[in-house]
């Protein structure tokens, strides 16, 4: 990668300098491109498709990462069993929870201490599109747990009442699963749970969870142990201190993770998408470079006479090379713009993927960020550089006499 930059950066610098210093006007290239409308459009179109695929696949990963990254607060920590990595496979006994709850480092608000003992189970729900079922996380939490997740807003109904078999569901899941409307009932753990509220998790991982009361959930599942505890501390700096305290307490044998770190680890769920995206990108880039090269070679070949004229007017070889390279960049940049516009059509579409660590579904949206668009554009320009280099070199090497003859 570094080697690539070592070659590209000086080359780009030279190109910019050439465009500013030497007067083969860029408008000449722009007009030449439109001399061959069909050819230009089809090449730009093909590059556009490639760039669009690139951006859309990466936007999936982006959306998934956003879901996890936006879930944590720096001053909060998750307590789990060591080596369990995710809440689902973690267990905390009741007496250990009692010790945690009395920790002096836990912050209190007007209602009480900000610590929530939680229990996470997985439940399969029927998908709305009729394509079978998917596993969904059900989180049992205390009222403090709702207050501690301040990116989550109630949009409809009310929050759950402790002790009752009620649940609140994320708005984003309602479209993807059946039976999550307000007032509908779901049966699990041998009980019937009523949807009493709908919340919006602002794109966080909580948009993929159903929330219920922790005591009711544990009774229904006949569980004697919690999964995890969420703890609010005075500031992010106190997290290591809290971790040390838990670590030194021989009774606990638990692991403390800062909430953002915990969720950042979960972005691993996006790994298959990333690998798929990289594979597709590498293969398609090669193909698109060949296509761009083809068009540029054809363009050079049909303009032999023009090149001769330019040379006769006094333009030098490297000036011509820079000029043709710019033309290739324009062509591919055009494709890049088309591709980015195409990909914007996907922005915000809701989808889901499975987090294989928790065997449960993650709802998220395709997220096309400006950074991603810039990446797509840069990518198209790279194709222009790689695909235009050789044809430009060739254009600058055509012998003057031959060029004047008209090839």
């Amino acid at each position: 990668m570094a080697l690539l930059y070592a070659i590209l950066v000086p080359y780009l610098a030279w190109l910019t300098w050439a465009a500013l210093r030497y007067p083969v006007p860029l408008s000449y290239n722009w007009r030449s491109l439109w001399q061959r409308k069909v050819s230009t459009c089809s090449t730009a179109g093909a590059i556009g498709v490639v760039v669009a695929i690139f951006v859309v696949v990466l936007s999936l990963d982006q959306g998934l990462s956003r879901a996890f990254v936006s879930s944590g607060r720096g001053d909060q920590a998750i307590v789990i069993r060591p080596n369990s990595r995710v809440e689902l496979s973690s267990t905390i006994e009741r007496d250990k929870m009692r010790i945690l709850k009395t920790s002096p480092l836990v912050v209190e608000d007007a209602t009480g201490p900000l610590i929530s003992s939680e229990c996470v189970v997985v439940r399969s729900l029927e998908k709305a599109d009729g394509d079978g079922t998917a596993n969904v996380s059900v989180r049992g939490l205390e009222p403090a747990g709702i207050r501690m997740r301040d990116q989550v807003r109630l949009v409809q109904g009310r929050w759950i009442t402790p002790g009752l078999n009620e649940m609140v569901v994320p708005r984003r899941m309602q479209g993807r699963f059946m039976g999550l409307g307000l007032g509908k009932k779901q049966t699990f753990g041998g009980r019937s749970w009523e949807v009493v509220g709908v919340f919006d998790g602002a794109g966080s991982a909580f948009d993929s969870e159903i929330w219920v009361d922790v005591v009711a959930l544990m009774q229904a599942y006949r569980r004697t142990m919690f999964s995890s505890a969420l703890v609010r501390l005075r500031s992010a700096e106190q997290v290591p201190g809290f971790a040390q305290m838990v670590d030194q307490d021989k009774r606990l044998k638990l692991e403390v993770r800062a909430e953002p770190d915990y969720y950042a680890d979960q972005t691993e769920a996006g790994q298959p998408i990333r690998i798929l995206g990289n594979l597709i990108t590498v293969i398609l880039t090669v193909g698109a470079i060949f296509a761009a090269m083809n068009t540029m070679y054809a363009s050079v070949a049909s303009r032999t006479q023009e090149i001769g004229t330019l040379r006769a007017l006094g333009f030098r070889q490297h000036e011509l090379m820079a000029s043709f390279q710019w033309e290739a960049l324009m062509l591919c940049g055009l494709g890049g713009v088309v591709g980015v516009i195409l990909s914007l059509g996907f922005n915000g579409i809701q989808t889901g993927a499975t987090n294989f660590q928790t065997f449960s579904d993650v709802s998220f949206a395709f997220l096309i960020t400006p950074a991603l668009m810039a990446k797509g554009l840069a990518f198209s320009l790279f194709m222009g550089l790689a695909g235009g280099g050789l044809p430009a070199w060739r254009a600058s090497r055509i012998p003057l006499t031959e060029a004047m003859k008209g090839g």
């Binding site: 093909a46 669009a52 496979s89 399969s124 142990m225 597709i280 193909g287 070679y297």
Partner: protein, 385 residues
């Protein structure tokens, strides 16, 4: 085939263009072939003919809920049932998470009876050793080769689901018909039961072998009806349906892959059409001369189309070759994070599909420029250039 020579000549008229076009078609076809093979491989898991008389019983609520072990005896008493085995996915990590392979806590005495089709070839003495040693395990040949395990080696697996690390002695190595079936490890269920208190008398799944495949629906129905009102209701399905459920978790990936395939095909179409348009435009005069000489429109169309199809077919063949080479690399890389891809290969069906697709692209992309060229008045053609 009198014109083959003519087609070849015009095909090689601009070698650079031909080569570049073939290369760009080839890489795109390679991508399509790989993506489609990924889908085909995944589908293969849910259509395993060897599993036709096996049923998986799980908790109705989700795969992470456990069933009481006592259900096993009732299932075994059903006259159509051959064998039943409790099995729990252990998700043990060997040294590093990247060394992923499926490992199960299974009831040792039934392993070979349930997985008769997979555990084909093993030595009876080794298997007896495995049964006698509670810390023993039975592993597939391919898996043993991968990590260089021999009989008698001790391996430690740290579970990601249970608070337990097991130290297992390799007691038996088995061979299968397919290398992908040799990637599993089974150890004694008792070890898990004794190591994790809440697993006492509980297991994740029952694997049921039915005597005759025709009885499968009947048994599924009977098991679920029997346990319907139990505290822990069951959900039984064929092993293939069970696998399908895991694959469905990737449901959206499937849609995305199909979409990408479509987009790539459109891109190839554009690229090929562009090349053919360039090639044909160059020859405006030539085509006019041909027609003046008495070639008919149909013949000329045939000549030009032949060229386009030759181009795409060569690109397609080259691309399939490329995909075949890449498949090996993907098997090694992807197999570690998506166990389903350990068996990855480009099967003949996908090859045929990709080949047809390129053929179609060749036809479509050449037809419009070729048709336009042959419609052009001869006088115009002769005058140009």
């Amino acid at each position: 085939m009198r014109f083959l020579h003519l087609i070849l000549r015009s095909f090689l008229r601009s070698k650079r263009r031909t080569v570049l076009t073939i290369l760009s078609i080839a890489v795109s076809v390679a991508l399509v072939a790989i993506l489609q093979s990924v889908l085909a491989t995944l589908d293969g898991f849910a259509n395993n003919p060897d599993a036709s008389n096996r049923i998986v019983v799980r908790h109705k609520v989700s795969i992470t809920n456990m069933l009481p072990m006592r259900y096993e005896e009732w299932i075994r008493q059903q006259p159509e049932v051959d064998t039943v085995m409790g099995l729990q996915w252990f998700q043990g990590v060997y040294i590093d998470r990247r060394n992923f392979f499926p490992n199960f806590a299974s009831e040792a005495e039934y392993v070979t009876a349930i997985f008769k089709e997979e555990i084909v070839d093993y030595s009876d003495t080794q298997y007896r050793d495995f049964l006698r040693d509670r810390n023993g395990c039975i592993v597939g040949r391919a898996l043993a080769d991968k990590f260089g395990w021999k009989v008698g080696d001790v391996i430690a697996l740290q579970s990601e689901i249970f608070p337990l690390t097991v130290r297992l002695t390799v007691r038996c190595i088995f061979k299968s018909k397919r290398p992908s079936d040799e990637m599993g490890l089974h150890f004694h269920y008792k070890l898990l039961e004794e190591g994790v208190f809440y697993m006492k008398g509980r297991t994740g799944n029952f694997f049921v072998r039915v005597r005759h495949p025709d009885d499968v629906p009947k048994i599924i129905e009977r098991i679920d009806r029997h346990f319907r009102d139990a505290v822990e209701p069951t959900l039984s399905e064929t092993e293939n349906a069970f696998q399908l459920e895991f694959l469905k978790m990737m449901g959206n990936y499937t849609a995305i892959i199909q979409m990408i395939t479509g987009a790539v095909l459109v891109a190839i179409l554009i690229v090929t059409a562009n090349t053919m348009a360039m090639a044909i435009r160059e020859r405006t005069t030539e085509i006019a001369v041909f027609r003046a000489m008495g070639f008919r429109t149909g013949q000329l169309l045939f000549l030009l189309m032949g060229e386009g199809i030759l181009l795409s077919v060569l690109g397609g063949l080259f691309g399939l070759g490329l995909a075949w080479v890449m498949a090996g690399a993907i098997r090694n890389v992807a197999g570690t994070f998506l166990p389903y891809l350990q068996n990855f290969s480009i099967d003949p069906g996908t090859m045929a599909l990709c080949f047809q697709a390129t053929l179609g692209v060749g036809l479509l992309s050449t037809f419009i420029p070729a048709y336009r060229a042959t419609r052009r008045p001869i006088v115009d053609g002769l005058r140009s250039l």
